[in-house]
């Protein structure tokens, strides 16, 4: 356990010692800020219109702002996650520090979990920025906070799953760019698989649909937590970390 903390701390320090963490946070702040401004502007517009037309149906902030924004964050995440995970192992391989880690008295699992936790924590920091924006909604309106919490839980689970896969990919190469690109392709595929399920009904299409991250995240964005979705993310995390462990082991044999 101590070793996990040691590795995790070191990894977080590395993220924040280089510009990468700040760069990602800045990128996210700008992109999400735009979506947020857009969503709120649209909401205000629609509210005024319906008022002017004398129709005063209750406008739902959760349904009209928070839910679509959470979906947006989920998609932005697909782009940021490869940038977070790409260096996890490939950088250690390139610089030779992997020799230090693998010859120190700690288990591979401790290295992997420490690194993965650090990556999830960094993504958590990025999510906090979006949280800041949502905070304004609470200052000026009365949205329901429970769906928001569940939505964030979903975002963290989604990131955990994709980061675990990214960690695995980064054990395969010493080149960060390759690791990042491959992870990005996987993220993208896991996203667009959903589209196939939209018009196809074959077994393959339903398998693809099941694999789709969006399909399992969407309920979270509505504030609905289904165990099936939680199980999906948990198994993706497990699978990713398991593959990472196997790959690290075979790295020793091939080295």
């Amino acid at each position: 356990m101590n070793n996990v903390i040691t590795i995790c701390q070191k990894e977080l320090k590395s993220y924040f010692a280089s510009p990468i963490a700040y760069l990602l946070m800045a990128m996210f702040a700008i992109v999400f800020g735009f979506f947020f401004w857009n969503a709120v502007g649209y909401f205000v517009n629609v509210s005024f219109q319906s008022q002017a037309m004398g129709r005063s149906f209750p406008m739902d902030v959760n349904e009209m702002i928070i839910r679509p924004l959470l979906m947006n964050v989920s998609v932005i995440g697909l782009f940021l996650i490869p940038l977070i995970s790409m260096r996890l192992f490939s950088e250690e391989k390139r610089s030779g520090t992997i020799e230090l880690l693998l010859t120190s008295p700690l288990h591979d699992a401790e290295i992997i979990i420490g690194k993965w936790l650090a990556a999830v924590a960094l993504y958590g920091c990025i999510l906090l920025i979006s949280g800041l924006n949502f905070f304004f909604l609470f200052a000026y309106g009365k949205p329901d906070w429970k769906p928001l919490v569940i939505g964030y839980l979903g975002l963290v689970l989604q990131a955990g799953a994709l980061l675990a896969i990214g960690a695995f990919v980064s054990t395969l190469t010493r080149n960060q760019i390759i690791a990042g690109s491959v992870t990005f392709s996987i993220c993208l595929l896991l996203w667009v698989f959903e589209w196939v399920a939209g018009y196809e009904t074959s077994t393959w299409a339903s398998v693809m649909g099941y694999m789709s991250v969006v399909r399992h995240f969407e309920p979270f964005s509505k504030g609905v937590m289904d165990t099936r979705d939680a199980v999906y993310f948990a198994s993706m995390i497990f699978l990713g970390l398991f593959l990472t462990a196997r790959s690290l082991e075979s790295l020793r044999w091939r080295a």
């Binding site: 070793n3 040691t6 520090t97 044999w253 080295a255």
Partner: protein, 319 residues
């Protein structure tokens, strides 16, 4: 302390280390000497549990690298070929990180970091980013990292590579001062380094051990030995060679080259024998012409080159 038996490592079809065996006693400094690609790094990586052997066993302090890797790792300090440092860390920060990895209790950590920083002369740069250090300082940080948990065994892969002469000298002194309490294996291409720092030498080439002895034995054995360079004309090379080999006290005759019917040989003698007079007589009595006869000292360097050469020098010369 270290016992290696029949160790083999294959990378796919490529054999890097082939059935090597050796032992290292507690407190010894052993030099691994060999040309590029000999298998030094591979052997060290197996000893440090970085990768498993294909065949054979390696034991450190009685623990097998395959069966009890944790115990082995706790007892080993390892400096790989490239110091495994994180450029974005400060020296002090890096050393405490490694200390924690090696399981030093946090109460002692600061003290240990101070000690090794002092010992490896990196105390003056402890607040500097490793990215900004020179190669020599990085190497010393790497060494500090290897000894931070006071391991029984130190494995140093080319610890003086890339250092300036003064730093090389200091590093060797440091390594010598570490002997006794630690058992040390270091690898190098440089002979004088072995002569100056090690008790024992293991000469390894193309994956096999070609010689293993105490440095003292090896040097004294070789110092007494001399070789004679001879130039003869008047007969064919194999005939002359055969005759020279029959001279009493000659251990080996190597044909060097041939110019205009003039054949050059190097005649090596058994230790303590002076064969110059006998060689001269043999040539003259056979009715050949002796154009040159000169003693050449056989240095450890020559032996090393000879033992590790991929081809015999004579074959190389003929091409």
């Amino acid at each position: 302390m270290i016992k290696v038996e029949g160790l083999t490592k294959r990378y796919g079809r490529n054999v890097a280390v082939q059935g090597i065996s050796f032992e290292v006693e507690k407190g010894q400094i052993v030099g691994f000497l060999g040309p590029n690609g000999a298998g030094k790094t591979t052997t060290m990586r197996i000893l440090t549990c970085f990768m498993p052997p294909t065949q054979g066993t390696a034991r450190v302090a009685g623990f097998d690298v395959l069966e009890a890797p944790m115990q082995v790792k706790q007892r080993i300090g390892y400096l790989p070929e490239n110091p495994p440092v994180y450029p974005e860390m400060e020296v002090e920060e890096y050393l405490s990180f490694v200390g924690r990895l090696k399981g030093i209790p946090s109460a002692e950590l600061a003290k240990r970091v101070d000690e090794v920083a002092e010992r490896c002369s990196v105390a003056d740069v402890r607040k500097k980013l490793i990215a900004k250090l020179s190669k020599g300082y990085r190497q010393r940080v790497g060494l500090a990292q290897a000894i931070i948990h006071n391991p029984d065994v130190l494995i140093l892969d080319e610890p003086t590579a890339g250092l300036d002469p003064k730093q090389i000298h200091e590093t060797r002194d440091l390594i010598r001062s570490l002997a006794g309490e630690h058992t040390i294996i270091l690898s190098t291409h440089i002979l004088p380094e072995v002569e100056q720092t090690c008790d024992h030498v293991v000469i390894i080439t193309r994956g096999s051990i070609v010689a293993t002895d105490s440095v003292q034995n090896l040097t004294s054995r070789l110092r007494g030995q001399e070789a004679v360079a001879v130039q003869v004309s008047g007969a064919d090379e194999p005939v002359i060679r055969q005759r020279l080999e029959q001279v009493a006290g000659v251990s080996r005759v190597v044909a060097r080259d041939t110019h205009n019917g003039l054949h050059s040989f190097e005649v090596e003698s058994l230790p303590g024998k002076n064969v110059r007079a006998e060689v001269a007589r043999a040539v003259v009595e056979s009715g050949w012409n002796l154009s040159e006869l000169r003693a050449v000292a056989l240095s450890l360097e020559d032996v090393f080159l000879e033992l590790t050469a991929a081809e015999k020098p004579s074959e190389g010369a003929k091409q």
